[in-house]
């Protein structure tokens, strides 16, 4: 079947078997490998993408379920050569080590800040509790998301002024 969706702002229309998982569609049909596979059971969140702005586990969604919808992957975070605040935050606060969970973590963080510009530590921890990191112990991921939230708030304030 032909599956048409918008990925990182660009419409793509690609043939795929109906049973194709969204993560495989993104990785093999679209050739974007920033979205990872860690557990196949929705537990680890390495495959997290944003579907119409909401974090979803792309290993347990069919690509067909994304038909006509907007998908954002890690490759869509930076725009016009400029890093997204969440990317800046992860780098500045040493929020990543092996990098395998990082795309999913950043997308969850970005979506959180979008809906809750001033998250508390508990709110951040709850938001990323569907994503496993084996390397960092989460402390710096929490800091990274805080960092991004503050930077975004400052930027927005400056924009208003």
């Amino acid at each position: 079947m032909k599956i048409t969706l918008e990925i990182n702002g660009t419409e793509k229309s690609v043939e795929a078997e109906p049973r194709t998982l969204l993560v495989d569609f993104i990785r093999t049909k679209l050739g974007m490998t920033g979205t990872h596979i860690g557990c196949d059971t929705s537990n680890c969140g390495a495959c997290t993408v944003l579907l119409d702005g909401r974090p979803v586990k792309s290993c347990t969604l069919l690509a067909a379920q994304a038909e006509g919808r907007k998908v954002t992957t890690v490759e869509g975070l930076a725009t016009g050569g400029k890093l997204h605040a969440i990317q800046e935050g992860f780098h500045a606060e040493h929020g990543l080590q092996c990098g395998f969970c990082t795309p999913g973590m950043m997308l969850v963080g970005a979506a959180l800040i979008e809906s809750n510009p001033h998250p508390t530590e508990d709110e951040i921890r709850w938001a990323i509790s569907g994503n496993i990191c084996r390397c960092t112990g989460y402390m710096n991921i929490v800091k990274a998301i805080h960092h991004a939230a503050e930077a975004t708030a400052t930027q927005n304030t400056a924009g208003v002024a």
């Binding site: 040493h94 080590q97 092996c98 569907g130 496993i132 390397c135 112990g137 402390m139």
Partner: protein
């Protein structure tokens, strides 16, 4: 120079001690990390593995016809086919053999039986489900106690002369001296405990893309490997391929934690299939395959006792260890030591006599025995002694801090010869303890605990003062499959003063691209930003033994410092030529050469690098390049004190970690930010092991813990907020005084967490709960003592 200008210069240089932001981050935050599953080659096929549903069964027949008939299937590989190429069995890292694909019997659930090679991953999986295997189930042996009991079914009946399930018997220390110590003991305290099977489960599973060129015979294997050079040599030996034609590329690794040290059957079959078919073959495990078949950790049953004299001093230690090694003895460890470095079990204590007896047994469980973020079984040793010391504190009524302070190896005793054969390089255990106590506010918390206890509330304070032994070799004593455990660094500074550093170790997230550049920055005065670090490609890096056992900094880091010094010395010859001075008069200070007495007239290291290619003295080789193979004179011995405060709900048995203070001494810290990142990660894995992570089996050998719904890994929600502290006691034999830190927290923390639980419960008569300390176990223990809400 003003202090802040000096500091700015130091930061810009990015030498040792600077928390430089990581150079490798850029590709990861852009989603441009390059992991094995991201490798796509023209004509690439996909492999799926058919695995045994039984823990122990004879294979009557394998029917591959239905699978072979699926459109898109290229080949179905069985053990019988491999046997024709003498590849049905392979050697393990512990000198045993392991079935690549089972031919006679399956010996654990999840064992590899056949492989399907197809055009797509989906077709390969479909066809794998159609391979029909006729099994005759046999009785499964699921504990080492069952395994060594008389009459147990013999698991390895294919091994000539193997008539039982015993693998090894190994002893360390001095039995007679230990018996004598126990004979004169005023008190003996014993502990029986089980460190259960757990699994490193890096977020990226294992896999490879094997690409063998049928014309040239060149084999390029992209592989999740923590030790690419050693793996190349083993591939050459296993597959009979010429080593110079094998190129292993270990690209970005999504964590390793020991899981990516062994060679797994999937790598071998994918390579053999690529050779036979003439197309690249990709094999990527799913999570269940990773959990049920690749390198597990621990599974040690430990019984021991400490002899204490009338003054409260430890005078002897006895430990017996029964190790469950699974169906094949595939522990990743030095050849000489059958139970790894478990004999470090005297830990941080001055115990003059020790005797360690270790027995290994085959069971119908997955093989592996890797050190999950640990140096060859040091975690088990550290856990045992720290739990035993807790028991000793409880039984003698001495505060767990006081009993440790009384028995610590004292700072002036280093280098210290341990009763079990180690020479500890350096340490100051009382100081690390004091820093931790001050940070926690220990005395206040003890008061709070007493008040709460009077009200019937359960609160505990756990103490663990671990000592690790990491950074293998020296090569004379430590090897992997005979390969001596040195490591290497190759450094080339180009004419423009910027360089490439190539290493034999391999990062799995530890940040080598940053920290190793910092070592060069410190030694040569070239900014870390000007040094590119390369690893993981056997064609383009010097031979090394890889990254595990916290050995990158102790060995590869030492090699990096030493090769930098080689280049620095060559630079002196060039400087002497440029200054027209005697080389004996040339001095070097942070990237600047000058003639003694004229520190203002300098040639920078960049000037020297340029001259190395453009303006050399007669008789001197061109270039500024060198390689060092470093064989460390000793291991390093990081240490620290961890303190944990828990509150326990009597009604539910739930344990809440309120605080966790970790004071680590890993010697000199190259990049404090990265060091702390390593520690927080290890404390989290330790927390997972202490409270959540468990691979267990039912009586039939079915693996429970085969996915992330059953094998529980801490998320941000459960994970405690850590409070870190440090002391710095440099290693006297390491060129920059560093000791390695990647595993300290996993080694040291499980005992601290469990001791905290026991500290809360010991007054009720509860003195041991084996990990993982789950709410139901605590609840049952409380109920067994008549404690209710």
């Amino acid at each position: 120079m003003a202090v802040d200008t000096q500091e700015a210069a130091r930061q810009a240089m990015g030498g040792i001690g600077v928390s430089l932001a990581r150079k490798e981050d850029a590709r990861f935050i852009h989603g441009q990390g390059h992991y094995v599953d991201d490798v796509v080659l023209p004509g690439m096929l996909h492999m799926a593995i058919v695995r045994s549903p039984h823990a122990h069964a004879r294979i009557r027949s394998i029917d591959t016809s239905a699978a072979s008939a699926v459109p898109g299937v290229i080949a179905v590989v069985t053990g019988e086919l491999l046997a024709q190429h003498k590849l049905a069995w392979m050697p393990t890292l512990s000198g045993d053999t392991q079935a690549v694909l089972a031919t006679d019997k399956v010996r654990f659930q999840g064992q590899e039986v056949a492989c399907v090679i197809a055009e797509t991953k989906y077709i390969a999986e479909d066809a794998a489900a159609l391979v029909s295997v006729d099994y005759e189930p046999l009785q499964a042996v699921t504990t080492p106690q069952q395994a060594i009991a008389p009459g147990a079914p013999v698991i390895r009946d294919e091994k000539e002369g193997q008539t039982d399930n015993k693998i090894y018997h190994w002893e360390a220390g001095d039995k007679d001296a230990t018996d004598a110590a126990f004979a004169r003991a005023a008190k003996v305290v014993s502990l029986s405990t089980f460190y259960p099977r757990c699994h490193p489960s890096p977020l990226e599973t294992c896999g490879c893309v094997a690409d063998v060129d049928p014309v040239t015979g060149n084999a390029t294997i992209y592989m999740t490997s923590q030790a690419p050079h050693a793996h190349r040599t083993l591939f050459a030996i296993v597959a009979g391929l010429p080593e110079e034609k094998i190129r292993i590329i270990s690209p970005d690794l999504g964590g390793g934690f020991g899981n990516k040290v062994p060679i797994y059957p999937g790598y071998v079959v994918a390579t053999a299939a690529s050779l036979l078919i003439g197309r690249p073959v990709k094999w990527i495990e799913d999570r269940t395959e990773n959990l049920i078949s690749t390198g597990f950790a621990r599974d040690y049953h430990m019984d021991g006792e400490v002899a204490i004299d009338a003054d409260g001093k430890f005078i002897g230690l006895r430990v017996h260890l029964l190790s469950d090694n699974g169906a094949f003895f595939a522990d990743a460890q030095p050849t000489r030591f059958k139970a790894g470095l478990f004999h470090i079990v005297t830990g941080s204590y001055d115990i003059p006599a020790a005797h360690i007896v270790a027995d290994g047994a085959y069971t119908n469980k997955a093989p592996g025995g890797v050190a999950y973020r640990c140096s060859f079984r040091v975690t088990e040793a550290s856990y045992f002694i720290e739990r035993l010391v807790e028991s000793a504190a409880v039984e003698t009524g001495v505060d767990p801090v006081a009993i440790r302070l009384k028995n610590f190896i004292q700072p002036e005793a280093f280098p210290y010869q341990s009763a079990s054969g180690f020479e500890y390089d350096s340490g100051d255990y009382p100081r690390a303890m004091q820093v931790a106590l001050d940070k926690l506010g220990y005395q206040e918390l003890r008061k709070e605990q007493a008040e709460k206890r009077a009200r019937g509330e359960l609160m505990g304070i756990g103490v663990a003062s671990f000592t690790e032994v990491v950074g293998a070799g020296k090569g004379k004593e430590y090897d992997i499959a005979g390969l001596r455990m040195f490591d290497s660094a190759e450094l080339r500074i180009h004419p423009t003063g910027k360089g490439i550093l190539k290493l034999g170790v391999k990062s799995q997230g530890q940040g080598h691209e940053t920290t190793f550049a910092q070592i060069v920055a410190e030694e040569l005065g070239i900014p870390a930003s000007d040094i590119e670090v390369r690893e993981g490609d056997t064609d383009n890096t010097p031979y090394g033994l890889g990254t595990y056992a916290s050995r990158s900094t102790p060995v590869g880091g030492a090699a990096t410092a030493m090769v930098s010094r080689k280049l620095r010395d060559k630079g002196k010859l060039i400087a002497a030529h440029l200054f027209e001075a005697d080389v004996a008069d040339i001095e070097f200070d942070h990237g600047k050469y000058f003639v003694k007495g004229s520190p203002d007239n300098v040639k920078t290291i960049q000037d020297i690098a340029f001259a190395a290619y453009t303006n050399l003295p007669d008789g001197l080789e061109a270039g500024l390049e060198g390689v060092t193979y470093y064989d460390p004179p000793n291991m390093t011995f990081p240490f620290g004190t961890y303190l944990v405060v828990v509150d326990i709900d009597k009604g539910t048995g739930q344990v809440k970690v309120r605080r966790m203070v970790a004071v680590d001494d890993c010697g000199v810290r190259i990049n404090p930010m990265i060091v702390e990142g390593q520690i927080c990660g290890g404390l989290t894995e330790g927390f997972g092991i202490a409270f959540m992570e468990l691979i267990t089996f039912d009586d039939e050998g079915n693996c429970i813990g085969s996915n992330f719904m059953d094998y529980l890994i801490p998320t941000a929600w459960e994970t405690p907020r850590f409070e870190l502290g440090e002391t710095v006691t440099p290693s006297p034999h390491h060129p920059i005084g560093a000791k390695g830190v990647g595993e300290s927290a996993t080694v040291g923390s499980p005992a601290a967490y469990v001791n905290a639980v026991i500290d809360a419960l010991a007054h009720l008569g509860i003195t041991n709960i084996d990990m993982p300390v789950t709410s139901d176990k605590v609840w049952a223990a409380l109920r067994s003592k008549g404690v209710t809400e």
